[in-house]
């Protein structure tokens, strides 16, 4: 059974990947809910441009996104310098930088299903809620958001899986530092570049596949459970 026992470095890569992906999701989810709701419900100048900007990381080479992050959030980048000086927050060559890269790359996959979910909520229900005395914020919290929740969770699972596997932008932005930024995907890449790394590469592939499968099964289960709770399956 020695084959199934993880080496410390493999544990490190797996737990780092989970930490990075979870942080990326936690950080981007509120922004994505706001962006998805805004794109679905508000009409404003620059609506199309904002939508295009959000989807940019999906169509650009990941290396480009990583390089842009390096320029903006790197130690000498304007945003990076500002955050470092004001909040003592640094994204340079550490795991938070990896989370930022993963979050940005997963963002379009998160926003799109959320936007569709909000668009599917009938505005007439919000009108009914207002006529019963609920404020805009309360209406969002107890009517709009709960009805969009299956879509939000679907997007979250997709984004989490994407963040787990992010490679190009991460390695460009925060490099490949063991224990700090060497996530599962980066460890796998390192293994393939090492002579006799085949066994490690195979084991990491197995772990990555298992995590992905769990995520997909969980998302399916959640979606079905929520749909039943909302009562949509009855119509």
């Amino acid at each position: 059974m020695a084959f199934f026992e993880l080496h410390p470095q493999e544990w490190e890569a797996l737990s780092l990947s989970l930490k990075v992906a979870a942080s990326a999701l936690a950080g981007s989810l509120p922004v994505a809910v706001l962006a998805g709701y805004g794109l679905a419900r508000w009409r404003f100048p620059g609506h199309g441009l904002l939508n295009a900007l959000i989807h940019m990381p999906l169509v650009m080479p990941p290396v480009v996104t990583g390089y842009v992050l390096l320029i903006l959030f790197g130690p000498v980048g304007p945003v990076g310098k500002f955050l470092e000086q004001t909040f003592g927050l640094s994204f340079a060559f550490n795991w938070t930088g990896a989370a930022l890269a993963a979050g940005v790359m997963a963002f379009p996959l998160l926003v799109h299903p959320i936007r569709l979910a909000f668009e599917a909520v009938d505005p007439k229900l919000e009108e009914a809620s207002t006529s019963l005395g609920a404020s805009g914020l309360v209406t969002f919290a107890v009517v709009t958001f709960p009805l969009a929740l299956p879509g939000v969770l679907g997007g979250a699972v997709l984004a989490f899986a994407k963040a787990m596997g992010e490679f190009g932008a991460t390695i460009t932005f925060v490099s490949n530092i063991p224990g700090e930024t060497r996530t599962l995907a980066l460890a796998l890449y390192t293994a393939t570049q090492t002579p006799s790394g085949d066994v490690i590469a195979f084991r990491l592939t197995f772990i990555a596949a298992a995590v992905a499968l769990c995520a997909l099964l969980l998302s399916e289960f959640l979606a079905r459970h929520l749909r039943r709770r909302i009562g949509a399956a009855d119509d």
Partner: protein
């Protein structure tokens, strides 16, 4: 008391509505596209009129001169929508109490009382998706009632239901009217519902109010050719059920003028006041009192006026005692009979045209 005097538009459709309604049920009546929904949305605060004033029970909700425009949220108007708009993810009970836990509205009616009034006690733990159309509308009415409303707007609440479901829900509307004492604005294009439920009638056509006032006088004074397309005109009568004939399943209804009309079945308990609606197209005219005829209600009348309609028809308004009855006949018949105002005629009303659906408990007009 509802006071409405507004001008505005929805897209390119202009509306101009002006009416005052005493407490009770006020019906906003008109064909599809007459502007009923637009006016209703303006009163509810979902659409802003360009100018004018809206007040309910003396409380001003909109006044462009004084710069008052109370938001939908604070208007306290219970809105029952045609498509019920129940929240699908919440139980019936959570839907009913929504205005309290989400809207911060006070409790002026108890849940038990409303549940009992609408007969929805067995539905409380269900989801709206599991309800029938009629049940859904009753829950929607309950939800609006429990929002401490100063006015209840019912926007064609029966329009999406089939005939049997309508018959199920109408008795609940009767109870609602008589037991809550809440002013109700009832929007409909079905004359049967309007005639049965309302005290005040507002006729809307092409975005404008054509007439408003007590329901029977508005119905009597309507110009049928233009207002209602001829089909819907008729006469509204009130009377007391005085006699019941078990053998033939017929009841006598004595009208205020001492006339008696016979209707099938027993529309209400003996001694109760009820309303009858007689569509103009179900009233025929004869010069002599006919005999050997199946029609049971034959009333002696005097022709008061003849109003030509579009096409082949005209409407004869005839005086029966103090009551005006409307009859819709062809222009050719009127010519051949030589009808003219002042002439004595006999009106033939087919008993079978006065059925349960057109009979409702009467409400005294104040």
């Amino acid at each position: 008391m509802i006071e409405v005097d507004i001008k505005g538009r929805a897209g390119s459709f202009a509306v101009q509505a002006q009416f005052t309604a005493p407490p009770g049920v006020t019906s906003l009546f008109g064909v599809s596209g007459a502007g009923k929904s637009t006016v209703t949305r303006m009163i509810a605060g979902l659409l802003r009129p360009d100018e004018g004033r809206i007040a309910v029970d003396g409380e001003v909700l909109f006044d462009n001169v004084k710069g008052i425009d109370v938001s939908v949220r604070h208007r306290r108007i219970g809105h029952v929508f045609q498509d019920s708009r129940l929240f699908p993810h919440l139980s019936v009970k959570a839907n009913l109490t929504f205005a309290r836990w989400a809207g911060g509205r006070s409790e002026d009616r108890s849940l038990t009382e409303v549940v009992e009034l609408l007969g929805i006690g067995h539905l409380l733990n269900r989801k709206p998706g599991k309800l029938s159309g009629g049940e859904r509308q009753r829950v929607a009415i309950g939800r609006a009632l429990l929002s401490a409303p100063r006015l209840l707007i019912m926007d064609e609440p029966l329009a999406s239901l089939d005939q049997a479901r309508k018959a199920d829900i109408l008795p609940y509307l009767d109870r609602l009217r008589s037991e809550t004492g809440l002013p109700i604005l009832y929007v409909s294009h079905a004359m049967e519902e309007v005639a049965r439920l309302s005290q005040t009638l507002v006729i809307l056509s092409a975005g404008k109010t054509l007439a408003s006032g007590p329901v029977s006088s508005v119905l009597a004074s309507l110009d049928p050719g233009t207002d209602l397309g001829g089909e819907e005109t008729g006469t509204l009568l009130e009377g007391v059920v005085t006699h019941r004939d078990e053998q033939w399943d017929l009841s006598d209804v004595a009208l205020d003028e001492g006339l008696v009309i016979q209707v099938p079945g027993l529309p209400a308990s003996l001694g109760n006041r009820i309303r009858l609606r007689i569509p103009a197209r179900d009233v025929s005219i004869s010069l002599a009192k006919p005999s050997g005829i199946s029609v049971r209600n034959i009333l002696k009348a005097e022709v008061d006026a003849l109003r030509p309609l579009d096409g082949a028809y005209l409407e004869a308004v005839c005086k029966v005692g103090a009551q005006m009855l409307r009859s819709r006949i062809t222009r050719a018949s009127a010519f051949e009979l030589g009808l003219k105002p002042g002439q004595t005629v006999f009106l033939l009303i087919k008993s079978v045209t006065i059925d349960q659906g057109r009979v409702g408990p009467a409400v005294r007009e104040s």
